[in-house]
Point group: C2
DNA sequence: CTCCGATTGAGAGTCAGTCTCAATCTACCG
DNA sequence: CGGTAGATTGAGACTGACTCTCAATCGGAG
């Protein structure tokens, strides 16, 4: 109805999509820009930011708000889910919580809030990182 | 037991604490700096940032990571809880979710992650904002 | 009152991310 | 095919939030 009409598959966009597909953990825009550089693909930083933002808006990637105000992106499955991230190595696991979803709705109803969304992430240390 | 020894209750710190106590919703460092200015209290911006950060570390205030990378602070009750925030007016309600807490622990256990913490916030439109 | 480390603040610096706009690319058309 | 409108790109300027630096000041233990 409004946007999908215009989305050209350019070399840059393809490169970014590929870089995203090749990593399983969250990466910042700068990380992606660097790895593209490393791979020989010349893509402007602004383009990386723009593309990532667009993909996030389109729901093609998930965004993780880093504590330092920087965002990290990750190619994720399309259904609603959350993440369990290792604070040490960044390893990420997708998790779902039906109980959480219904709790959120109940809380919203109780307080008479509408159009409720939520952000939820779990952080810890994975088994591998723990043992040395 | 270890550090608390050095925390002088200066005019600036008192002013910031008071400003925080006077507001019930999340406020950015800049917001607080402005309101202090308005109130005639001259406090440097750097001091506001430093103090807020310290209070957050000490668990005296909760921090809400704004989507734009800015942090907002709020004087909160000390026990573990989450927030339901109005996207329109900022009205904030503290909420607790026993179900969520136990779900988080279970998920962590299932994936063998340790020292798990979580961030969870709910956003919506409050009743007042909805009706005009 | 004295002294010393804690605190402050003006201003420079950092850094992620955004904007500007001319050059470039693409899809589509005749 | 060449032509064209509109999408896309990228170098570099810019923004805005936040941190650092360091000399001047403060506060309270003795
Ligand atoms: Zn790990
Ligand atoms: Zn959810
Ligand atoms: Zn509201
Ligand atoms: Zn919780």
């Amino acid at each position: 109805m409004s946007e999908s009409s215009t989305l050209r598959p350019t070399r840059q966009r393809r490169a970014i999509t590929e870089a995203l597909a090749g990593a399983s953990d969250f990466q910042s825009a700068q990380d992606i820009h660097d790895s593209l550089r490393q791979a020989g693909e010349k893509v402007g930083l602004a383009t990386v930011y723009r593309t990532l933002q667009a993909m996030a808006d389109a729901g093609e990637v998930d965004v993780l708000q880093g504590s330092g105000g920087e965002s990290a992106y990750r190619r994720c499955s399309t259904h609603h889910h959350h993440h369990l991230v290792c604070r040490s190595c960044g390893r990420t696991v997708e998790v779902t919580g039906p109980a959480v979803e219904s709790w959120a709705e109940a809380v919203a109803r109780d307080h008479d809030f509408a159009e409720v969304s939520h952000s939820l992430e779990l952080f810890g240390i994975c088994a591998d990182c723990r043992q040395q």
